[in-house]
Amino acid sequence: MARAVSNRRKVGYTIAAWIIGLAIFFPILWTIVTSFKTEAEAISSPPSFMFFNWTTENYTTVLERSNYFRHFWNSVVISLGSTVLGLIIAIPAAWSMAFVPAKHTKNVLMWMLSTKMLPPVGVLIPIYLIFRDVGLLDTKTGLVIVLTLINLPIIVWMLYTYFKEIPGEILEASRMDGASLRDEIIYVLTPMAVPGIASTLLLNVILAWNEAFWTLNLTAAKAAPLTAFIASYSSPEGLFYAKLSAASTMAIAPILILGWFSQKQLVRGLTFGAVK
């Protein structure tokens, strides 16, 4: 009897999970479906979900009109560059906070997190002026720097949480075996924290890929990533929903695929240390 109830619950949970999952995914699915409609079908009411003339003309138009691959390459460089640079800075920082905490380590961590509470537009003009003066406007280098700084608190916090789970005795043992600080971090700590580092890396790539405020405001023609590519298909006066959907699908497809293949790693990393 107990088993039957349990099964019913399981079925209930599964159905609920599917409904929630589909509800969350629905806007993306709708965007993908709309990208295969004509502009007239995209705005038709009531909308059709499956039964319309599927067409790829929006993709052809978008590829003809815009340099998708330049935007794509810029997105790759900016998101990977800022993530790698962020990890290089954050791994030693998180190590020191996790294994040799000082009196004010907690305060420093809170302070780092508090920088995320400032609305970005509040520092737009100062950063814009600095970038102008040092020639970093519309450069991939500039965006790598700014996205690294923006996401650094999250990277440090995530790594700090993972590192706290690793027993300090192992590091101590390596020290007793004569490992230098550099060797300790590179050859002992990093391999043990690979799941945590991998999920931090993935999450940060996603955050950097989707970042739209700085990437739109600090770029013009040369370093503009896929966020600018999407923005070029939106218009308050003109119906371009199907083309906008095609551009959006092309922009999110790479990160969607990356997320799909690495979902186990992501979930494992994000729930690491959540249950003790």
């Binding site: 007239a40 519309d138 023609a221 070029s232 939106s234 218009s235 006066e237 119906l239 371009f240």
Partner: protein, 436 residues
């Protein structure tokens, strides 16, 4: 290969590299609409004529573009050499000396040919600061078949009373036909563009000569009451969420009897995507017998930021893109109906254009009916028909638009919305130091 040949080849390569190094690159910021995309596609004509100038395009959504180019020009960032800006920005930026005056365009450009109403909106103290690429006003677009069924005939210059009567007669909610569609979505360029223009025809104004807000005037009350009544009684459901695109979709699907909006919509409602393309008529925006019509005036224009290091090349490009020759190029490649409208007198004297664009005369009449320097019945201290050309306007008008949109959604009364508009506008204007 002899030594001499090698030297000659090397010298040729160096000359080639020097030529590439000398080529100037213009970065052009533009909005995403049909006319601008077409210009981008036809720009090979320009680069063929000017091989020493290369073009880099940055196309962005209107509001993103506005934020982006404003940041750049205010900080002298120098990211753009040509910017697409509207009649709202030009007077403000020109007064800040942020724009290069266009008072030395070549004679063959024929600046005198620009429509006076448009040139007036893009000039400060008689000097042109941006060249109009296309101009637009607003007008009534209506279903000729529904009007006929209702036993009415749309005059060329209707009154608001006629619009109310026609809206009532055309509404058939059971069959999802709504007498009138208007902008309801909050925003300075959305519902407030329409309502400000509408209020002008009721004799209302944003500010008196001393910059005192006027939302407590009976004229504003009358305009807002009629707007709310029209949409509540005869408008589509959820009108408070409708902007240009939503109303365009409704009209194209045959669900609007009348739609008062941008003249640029004319080519969409009569285009291939419209199910009512052959049943659309046009009329001037309505009036109330006070000498002012409820239509606006806007021109997407090309301006050159002061401090660009490619001023001459930028002027050459602006002169090409806004020239009579460009209009002819579009006509040759895409047909006369696709020529950017509303900027040049000569276009409206061209019979081929008038034959190809059935909405041409109404567009011209609508533009000519707007006066950005005297937008309403009483005198005002500002420039602009559907906006007030001061930097604070975007923020204030969006906040006011939210009040009016809330009134339309039934969340507050017209009186409450007007009182809130009066209070918030007074507060912002005092903080900004106007009228002190």
């Amino acid at each position: 290969m002899t030594k001499t040949t090698r030297i000659l080849m090397g010298a040729t390569a160096l000359c080639g590299m020097a030529a590439i190094a000398q080529a100037e690159t213009l970065t052009i910021a533009t909005v995403n609409n049909g006319d601008m995309i077409r210009m981008q596609e036809l720009s090979s004509d320009f680069t063929e004529k000017h091989p020493d100038i290369e073009l880099d395009w940055v196309t962005l959504e209107e509001n993103v573009l506005r934020q982006r180019v404003t940041t750049d020009i205010a900080t002298k960032g120098g990211q753009y050499d040509v910017m697409t800006i509207g009649t709202y920005e030009v007077p403000i930026w020109a007064k800040q000396n942020w724009l290069v005056p266009l008072d030395d365009l070549p004679e063959e450009y024929d600046a005198e040919d620009i429509l006076p109403a448009i040139a007036g909106g893009l000039s400060v103290d008689g000097t042109l600061y941006a060249a109009p690429f296309y101009g637009e006003s607003s007008m009534v677009m209506y279903r000729t078949d529904l009007m006929e069924e209702a036993g009415l005939e749309m005059p060329d210059a209707p009154t608001w009373d006629f619009i109310k009567e026609a809206a009532a007669a055309m509404t058939d909610k059971e069959n999802e036909v709504y007498g009138i569609c208007l902008r309801g979505k909050a925003g300075w360029g959305e519902n407030m563009a329409f309502l400000t223009a509408m209020s002008n025809s009721y004799g209302a104004r944003w500010f008196d000569e001393n910059w005192v807000p006027q939302f407590d005037s009976p004229e504003w009350k009358a305009a807002l009451d009629d707007y709310l009544m029209l949409l509540n009684e005869y408008g589509p459901p959820g009108a408070a969420n409708n902007g240009f695109n939503e109303n365009l979709a409704l009209f194209q699907q045959g669900k609007c009897g009348m739609w008062i909006d941008a003249t640029v919509a004319a080519s969409f409602v009569t285009g291939d995507d419209s199910t009512v393309a052959d049943k659309v008529g046009f009329a001037l925006a309505p009036d109330n017998g006070l000498g002012k019509r409820g239509n606006w005036l806007w021109a997407w224009s090309l301006g050159i930021p002061a401090g660009t290091d490619a001023e001459d090349a930028a002027k050459t490009f602006v002169a090409w893109a806004t020239s009579k020759e460009y209009a002819e190029l579009v006509a040759e490649k895409e047909g006369w109906a696709n020529v950017p409208p509303g900027t040049r007198t000569s276009l409206y004297e061209n019979q081929e254009y008038l034959d190809a664009a059935p909405f041409a005369q109404m567009t011209l009449d609508s533009i000519n009916a707007a006066d950005p320097n005297n937008p309403t019945v009483d005198p005002v201290p500002y420039t602009g028909v559907q906006f007030v050309a001061i930097p604070e306007f975007q923020g204030i008008a969006t906040a006011v638009g939210q009040q009016f949109s809330a009134a339309l959604a039934g969340q507050m009364s017209a009186e409450e919305a007007l009182q809130a508009a009066q209070d918030l506008t007074s507060q912002e204007m005092q903080a900004a130091g106007y009228g002190q």
